[in-house]
Symmetry: C2
């Protein structure tokens, strides 16, 4: 005589199947919510209803998870359409990177941290190099790309650093001054930093985006001069 359904226990729930995509997605979600430091293997695993050790089948170190996250968001940077000229290509690369970093602020902590060798990272580099191909010898082209990347990498990092600082010290319209509380004001009051004081008090409060764009234009001007310059 067989047991009725009521006697038999439910079969144990099979663990949810996992893949890198899902792991990276939840890691990114966590980072978006609470910054990079909110990403822990335990929390990621918990969101996937898995034990922490489960992840080590797909990743062998936390750093690798960061690499995957980085490469994943690089997809948002890839331009969807062929750029017009090289200048538009580089400019678009810079602006797309910036906007992506504003969506995923943790990107600022990873930017330039280690070479991006994932598929999307390579694709971005490829697209960029392709846009400059033939305009000058390869070495000049690489120098151009590296210079522009160095600029917007640094600029984005600073922008987000300031953004966080402002957020931490409550709303702070001017970058410093009232921002970091009495300290900077006191320092400026000592008179030991006249040039800085002048800059803080007399400088116009320009918004981050145009500041970014202006610096970028300068750098692109420089690149333009080098690309067409020596050969003409």
């Amino acid at each position: 005589m067989t047991m009725t359904v009521w006697d038999r226990p439910e079969p144990p729930t099979r663990p949810v199947p996992l893949d890198r995509e899902r792991i990276v997605a939840t890691a990114i979600a966590l980072a978006d919510e609470g910054g990079l430091e909110a990403v822990s293997l335990r929390k990621v695993a918990a969101r996937l209803n898995a034990g922490p050790m489960r992840l080590y089948g797909y990743i062998s170190t936390k750093q690798e998870l960061f690499d995957l996250m980085m490469d994943e968001v690089q997809a948002e940077i890839l331009p969807e359409e062929q750029p017009g000229d090289w200048r538009e290509a580089l400019s678009s690369l810079a602006h797309r990177t910036r906007r992506t970093a504003l969506r995923h602020e943790w990107l600022a902590d990873l930017l330039g941290g280690r070479p991006t060798l994932g598929p999307n990272g390579l694709a971005v580099t490829e697209a960029t190099l392709a846009a400059l191909d033939g305009l000058a010898d390869i070495d000049t082209v690489m120098r151009a790309v590296e210079t522009v990347s160095a600029y917007f990498t640094g600029a984005i990092r600073r922008e987000i650093a300031n953004l966080r600082a402002e957020r931490a010290t409550g709303l702070a319209k001017r970058d410093w001054q009232r921002a970091s509380g009495p300290h900077v004001t006191r320092m400026l009051a000592t008179g030991r930093f006249p040039a800085l004081a002048k800059a803080v008090y007399d400088g116009t409060d320009v918004d981050a985006e145009t500041s970014f764009a202006t610096g970028l234009d300068w750098v692109l001007d420089a690149v333009a001069a080098k690309l067409t310059g020596p050969s003409v």
Copy 2:
């Protein structure tokens, strides 16, 4: 009748007096030896023959320790003599920052991470702004300084990132290719990255310093154009 010296125990050794300077110095030493992640409050305290909690009299969070370390090495960046012209001032700032980062590689992880508001950081900014004072309206000057800083911040970060990558994968002459093992070579072999492949195979292997200097010169050229341009 008083006890002889032999009967009396030695007085308990008073704890070594501490100050921020010593704390920061040992933290920097630790970071120089094993990178930023080798810096833990416990290890710092241990080197000073103190309990970990002792540090909280001088610091209220680990992040503050990093801020102090950052400001400390900014002293190495301050130029010892008045620069000739603005271009030399900015160039020197960039190169000194780079050399400092090569001495203290962990600096790359902190560069641009948060605004530098310590005394040395302010001094560096002051010196830089002072060198450009009067050459243009304040807003242009600030844009110039920010653009150049963004460039060398990003460039230094990438240089050190590559340096570490090479170090990690054994000696790697070319940046990528053999560097990250079979992976990149395989990717390039797929033919999906022609421009990149060309750059890797046909590009000249230029050393980091000249690459840095070249990009910097370009940016400085751009700044020069903007400083003298519109007003003339």
